[in-house]
Amino acid sequence: MHTHFLDTYSHLDSPIHRVGAATKTILSIAVIVTLVVSPPSWIGYAAAGIGLLILATASQIPAMFLLKRLIMLEPFVLGAASLALFQPHGVPRFAQIATRSTLCLFTLVILANTTPFSELLHVLRRARMPALMITTLALMYRYLFVLKEESARMRNARASRTFTTTNRHAWRSMTTVIAQLFIRAAGRADRVYAAMCARGWK
């Protein structure tokens, strides 16, 4: 089971990847703020789109991967934007919101896939984020994939023991998996704590 595909490309070596994480984060947020705050203009959106496409090409991330990420997230954008259709002048408003939101999403996807999370954590730490949240974020990122795979193993184990399930049984067994997942996570937290203490953590 390889769930690491979600974070593979943030460790490439391209001109974009080499830019400091803080610079990239601030620039991305600046782009998104500009898109959100400035009055809608199609020329501006086109310019932003071309600029982002150039950045994406320079980042050497496979175009198919970026496209897949965007397509995965686009339903939420379109779903929420379609609510804007129910008002006077709804269609142009829908088009504006969907375009603007897609451009913001594209910016964020490029940032996420060119910046390793550990570097982002350094940025957050320098931005004076409280230590408890930094520790929580770091541990969460470390064990995200571990727990994801653990839950997949439990589901496989369950699937290999049952031929067919009704919806009702699927619900019961899924909730048991979730409960077990938390119990195992709590056990792992105890062991992690012991290991942290053994290494002199305070």
Binding site: F117, L132, V146, K148, S151
Partner: protein, 334 residues
């Protein structure tokens, strides 16, 4: 319910950001004396919420839903730790998976970490106090899960409407309507998960939580204040009969100009028309009450089924431990 970037205008995003910072400050203050042993648990719990959100439940018709986990987390870890944990989940979802916007992060944290999780916990505590006992706890969990999901959806609709993205009637109908169903699923899953954990490791369910008989409500007042201000800013402008809710809130917050602000301060209730208020508010209240009653029914049935099955199980276990059948138990009692 993750709001992407581009749906909120700067003003709404800033207001939501300020409110969630205030909420997180309260949470951090209340976790100052967190035992060091529970620090790794917060990281693991955040990873757990993330992994649990990826498990899909069949709903029927080929669709599936997943757990959101706000109330689950709050009941397991306590409200302050849960607010921090859910915020961390949202931060990772935003920066690693681009799920939910950066500018909208404040709004997302307010809706899901504060309204859904901490607000859900406040509802849980109030209902649990009315219905103590383990069955009452499951009913309280069900009601809190459903109500907090719907409440967060309504707040989200208010933010979208306040940004002029979506008109309020459309936003609130769509968001509250969809989440009234999602909330039922959330309530059932949360009850089943809490029940399963309760059976195996009862010690894991927030050991620091006061029992329902204790009255320690005041310590949560900071959270209550932040959530109440959020509701006032994002939802209340639309609950009134004012023709443009945004203008009203802009005036009363002094965003517009000093003259308008001064006028509002001088007489805060000039257009406060009671009939309009009462009809809108009564409609909303009735809908909320009906939904809560329905979920109470669902939760009560679930709790009855789960609890009675457990007592059967315990009797069976006792019987098998003490020999065969009730005679064995009698001899053990004697």
């Amino acid at each position: 319910m993750h709001i992407p970037d581009g749906f909120l205008n700067g003003r709404t995003a800033a207001a939501a950001g300020a409110l969630s910072l205030a909420g997180l400050a309260v949470a951090l203050r209340r976790t100052r004396n967190l035992p060091p042993k529970r620090v790794p648990l917060m990281g693991l719990a955040a990873a757990f919420v993330f992994a649990a959100q990826m498990l899909n439940f069949p709903i029927g018709g080929g669709t599936s839903g997943h757990l959101i986990g706000g109330v689950l987390c709050a009941v397991l870890l306590g409200p302050s730790a849960a607010a921090l944990v859910i915020s961390c989940v949202l931060i990772v979802q935003c920066f690693v998976f681009a799920d939910g916007g950066v500018l909208a992060l404040g709004a997302n944290i307010f809706n899901m970490a504060l309204v859904s999780s901490v607000g859900g916990y406040l509802i849980f505590r109030s209902v649990y106090r009315l219905l103590p006992g383990s069955r009452g706890r499951l009913v309280a969990v069900a009601i809190a899960s459903w109500l907090s999901t719907v409440l967060a959806a309504v707040v989200c609709a208010g933010q979208l409407a306040l940004s002029h993205t979506v008109p309020w009637p459309v936003a609130v109908t769509a968001m509250a309507g969809v989440h009234a169903f999602i909330g039922v699923g959330e309530a059932v899953i949360t009850v089943l998960v809490i029940h399963a954990i309760e059976q195996v490791r009862p010690d894991l369910i927030d050991p620091s939580a006061p029992s329902p008989m204790e009255r320690r409500g005041f310590e949560l007042i900071g959270f209550g204040l932040v959530i109440a201000i959020g509701l006032a800013v994002f939802v209340s402008p639309f609950a009134s009969s004012a023709p443009d809710g945004l203008d009203h809130v802009a005036q009363s917050l002094g965003f517009r100009d000093h003259e308008a602000a001064a006028r509002v301060i001088a007489s805060p209730l000039p257009d406060y028309r009671l009939p309009g208020i009462s009809s809108a508010a009564i409609g909303t209240a009735l809908a909320g009450a009906a939904g809560t009653l329905m979920v109470f029914g669902v939760g009560w049935t679930l709790a009855r089924v789960l609890r009675s099955r457990q007592t059967d199980l315990n009797v069976d276990l006792a019987a098998s431990v003490n020999g065969a059948g009730p005679t064995g138990r009698d001899s053990a009692d004697a």
